[in-house]
């Protein structure tokens, strides 16, 4: 333990703690901007400077570790003046169009400006000008709002190990960009969207489809169907002041109905389809000695990563589409038939916690008989903006249920939203199918939790199998390397592109660096999903009566020709960007 004094308060902290952590542990806040716990600890924004007695110049509290007997002042008048100057200098080269910025109200730079009472622009002069990159179907980059904190660079490089972006040029022309300043669309970006989650300003944002969706809702001849992913319901409330992880399913459904959607469905049902198909495919592969290990394909960021980095191993990927694509295909075939509506008159909208789903929906092969499975994908954040636009008082809403005939979903579908969930749901169905009876074992706790790679050994129908769950693309790369080397001794792998799974997806409400360092957002949201699962009466996908009915009436059986037509897809190797 190290003893020091912070703001006249004697404190004791563990050795190796930074001044910032020591202060925060003792209830003293120091403003930060570039700091992102465990991800970007570089001290380049200079916002967190503090005065250390006997030291020339100010110390950077986010990277400076504590020393015995240190006397630290975090809020002396000199410090406050220096911090204000730093903020003024950052603002001098920031396009201050807050009124039209998507991050207004949830911007860390704006919050600091309020905190420091910025009333005028102190330093006016030349501003850097960058072109806006909106070529990709998922991410828009506006580097006129970038403050060069490098949080996105660190996330891309250290967390996901992709390294699609980095700092280019020098001095005043410095800019975060890609190799040769190409569009993000043309480099190795997987559209996981983690960079957006880490951006303190509005420099990175999703490609919005709000206006398009409103247009469709206005058009009375279009039958607009919306589906919401499992992870959306446990995060949407955060945008309306609910604690992190609050399940606002009922209010969300009411809001969507009030906005004018003709049908509101639950992607959890789509997840149940995915499980039916995926568990069947897995059993088939095991029985027929097909390509093993089989890897899940629910995460489009991961699929793009595999297509670019491991084109020889694409056979390992399950041919199943992701749940919302499956559900979109079912809506435009089964539901269209049942309701007597022409498929081209239906518009399917997916509310997703994901940025890459926007890209997935735009993939060429995601259509059946010329009908796009999903027309528009909007993120949790976009939905919250639409609810505000529609002047709906979200907190005052009554609860309501998803629409029939596909409203009922299982607990297995709900846990799709967290890492390990797809695996657990698939194991529940596969175990029952292989044993030929209704097993009581439901919870596979070995595949739960925050670890990036989770390994488990199980027995399914008397057959020993090994499974692996990986989340985050850096962990995905480790698993793929094992498969490539031939050291993989497991049969079933679940991979999610975002660390922590969909609950931490790139389309979820953005949490400030301070909240991210103080609470485990992933755990709160994931726990909420597990409690939805526990509260469900049906917890296995194959027991879902809606699913059983659709298989009976329409799809015949899992893996049938018809199921392949609507619910399966294929992958093509994509060229990696070589310099």
């Amino acid at each position: 333990m190290v003893k020091l004094v912070i703001d006249n308060k004697p404190v004791e902290v563990e050795e190796g703690t930074t001044i910032l952590e020591a202060a925060r542990q003792n209830g003293i806040d120091i403003p930060t901007l570039c700091f992102l716990k465990d991800i970007n600890e570089v001290g380049d924004c200079r916002m967190c400077i503090v005065e250390v007695e006997g030291r020339k110049g100010f110390a950077t509290s986010c990277i400076q570790t504590v020393e015995e007997g240190m006397v630290v002042k975090t809020h002396s008048p000199e410090i406050l003046e220096a911090r204000k100057t730093i903020l003024d200098l950052i603002l001098s080269n920031h396009h201050k169009d807050c009124l039209t910025c998507s991050r207004s109200g949830n911007c860390e730079l704006q919050a600091l400006s309020i905190k420091f009472n910025v009333q005028k622009v102190e330093y006016e002069g030349e501003m850097s000008k960058h072109k806006i990159d909106d070529k990709s179907p998922a991410i828009v980059r506006d580097f006129n709002k970038c403050i060069l904190c490098r949080r996105c660079v660190a996330t891309c490089k250290n967390v996901q190990e992709i390294g699609a972006i980095d700092c280019i040029e020098r001095g005043f022309s410095s800019c975060i960009s890609t190799t040769y300043d190409h569009s993000l669309n043309d480099v190795d970006c997987t559209f996981c969207g983690q960079c957006i989650e880490s951006c303190p300003t509005g420099a990175l944002r999703e490609k919005e489809y709000i206006d398009e969706v409103w247009e469709k809702l206005k058009d009375e001849s279009t039958y607009v169907v919306v589906q919401t992913a499992p992870a959306v319901r446990v995060a949407l409330g955060e945008e309306f002041g609910y604690p992190i992880g609050t399940n606002v399913k009922g209010k969300m459904v009411t809001a969507l109905k009030n906005m004018g959607f003709d049908k509101v469905f639950d992607t959890n049902t789509g997840a149940d389809f995915t499980i039916m198909e995926e568990a069947n495919e897995f059993i088939e592969r095991v029985k027929n000695k097909g390509t093993l290990p089989m890897i899940t394909s629910c995460s489009p960021g991961w699929v793009r990563f595999a297509e670019k980095n491991y084109p020889d191993l694409l056979d390992h990927l399950s041919t199943c589409k992701s749940p919302h694509q499956m559900f979109g295909a079912i809506i435009k075939s089964y539901l269209a038939q049942k309701e007597g509506i022409a498929p081209h008159k239906i518009c399917t909208v997916s509310v997703m916690p994901c940025i890459a789903k926007k890209y997935e929906a735009s993939r060429e092969e995601m259509e059946v008989d010329g009908n796009r499975d999903v027309d528009y994908v909007i993120t949790t954040r976009e939905l919250s903006r639409m609810i505000r636009q529609a002047n709906i008082s979200f907190r005052e809403l009554e609860d309501s249920d998803f629409d029939d005939p596909m409203g009922e979903a299982t607990g297995a579908g709900a846990i799709f939203g967290t890492t390990g969930g797809v695996m657990e749901a698939a194991l529940r169905t596969a175990a029952d199918t292989l044993e030929g009876k209704n097993l009581e074992k439901l919870e596979y706790t070995q595949v739960r939790g925050e670890k990036g790679i989770k390994r488990a050994e199980l027995s399914l129908g008397g057959m020993p199998i090994k499974v692996v769950v990986a989340s985050g693309l850096s962990n995905a790369r480790k698993i793929m390397e094992e498969i490539k080397n031939g050291t993989a001794d497991y049969q079933f792998v679940e991979i999610m592109a975002c660390p922590g799974g969909c609950v931490m997806g790139g389309g979820q409400p953005i949490k400030s660096s301070k909240i991210r360092s103080a609470v485990d957002v992933r755990k709160l949201r994931a726990d909420s999903l597990y409690s939805i699962d526990e509260a469900s009466t049906i917890r296995k996908s194959h027991e879902n009566p809606a699913i059983q009915k659709i298989y009976q009436e329409f799809l015949e059986k899992p893996g049938s020709h018809k199921a392949h037509k609507y619910l399966h897809t294929h992958y093509t190797a994509k060229e990696k960007y070589e310099i």
Binding site: G43, R46, G57, F58, T60, E81, T85, I86, E122, Y123
Partner: protein
């Protein structure tokens, strides 16, 4: 430098330099403000002249000087007229030339080219 500074800007410059010096992370950042701080200390009156009287005694700040042709030295050779990128110079051959201040961009090309050193900086 462009003649738009106000008296309080000198204090602002000093504060800015001091703050950068104390809060920069690297040695370059910590020393970059030194030239500004030391000139402010030893040549403050020149700064004050710039700000308060729009005067640059070194004739270096373009906004505070005009380029004029000394008619006594000018032989009317026309080199300056031919080299002026904005066509600001007029005059008959062998007669003293003249610079139109409204057109002149103060690039200094004429002064560099004049073989007789007839072009001089004149404070405004």
């Amino acid at each position: 430098m462009n003649g738009k500074a106000e008296p309080d800007d000198l204090n602002k410059l000093e504060r800015l330099a001091n703050n950068i010096k104390k809060s920069a992370i690297c040695g370059l950042g910590q020393t970059a403000p030194n030239p500004v701080l030391s000139t402010l200390k030893y040549f403050r009156e020149e700064y004050v002249e710039h700000v308060s009287y729009n005067k640059c005694r070194a004739g270096y700040c373009r906004a505070l000087c005009n380029l004029v042709i000394n008619p006594e030295k000018c032989r009317g050779c026309g080199i300056c007229k031919r080299n002026c990128p904005v066509g600001a110079i007029s005059g008959e051959v062998k007669m003293p030339h003249e610079i139109n201040q409204k057109i002149c961009i103060k690039c200094g090309t004429c002064a560099d080219k004049c073989p007789f050193h007839a072009i001089e900086k004149q404070t405004i």
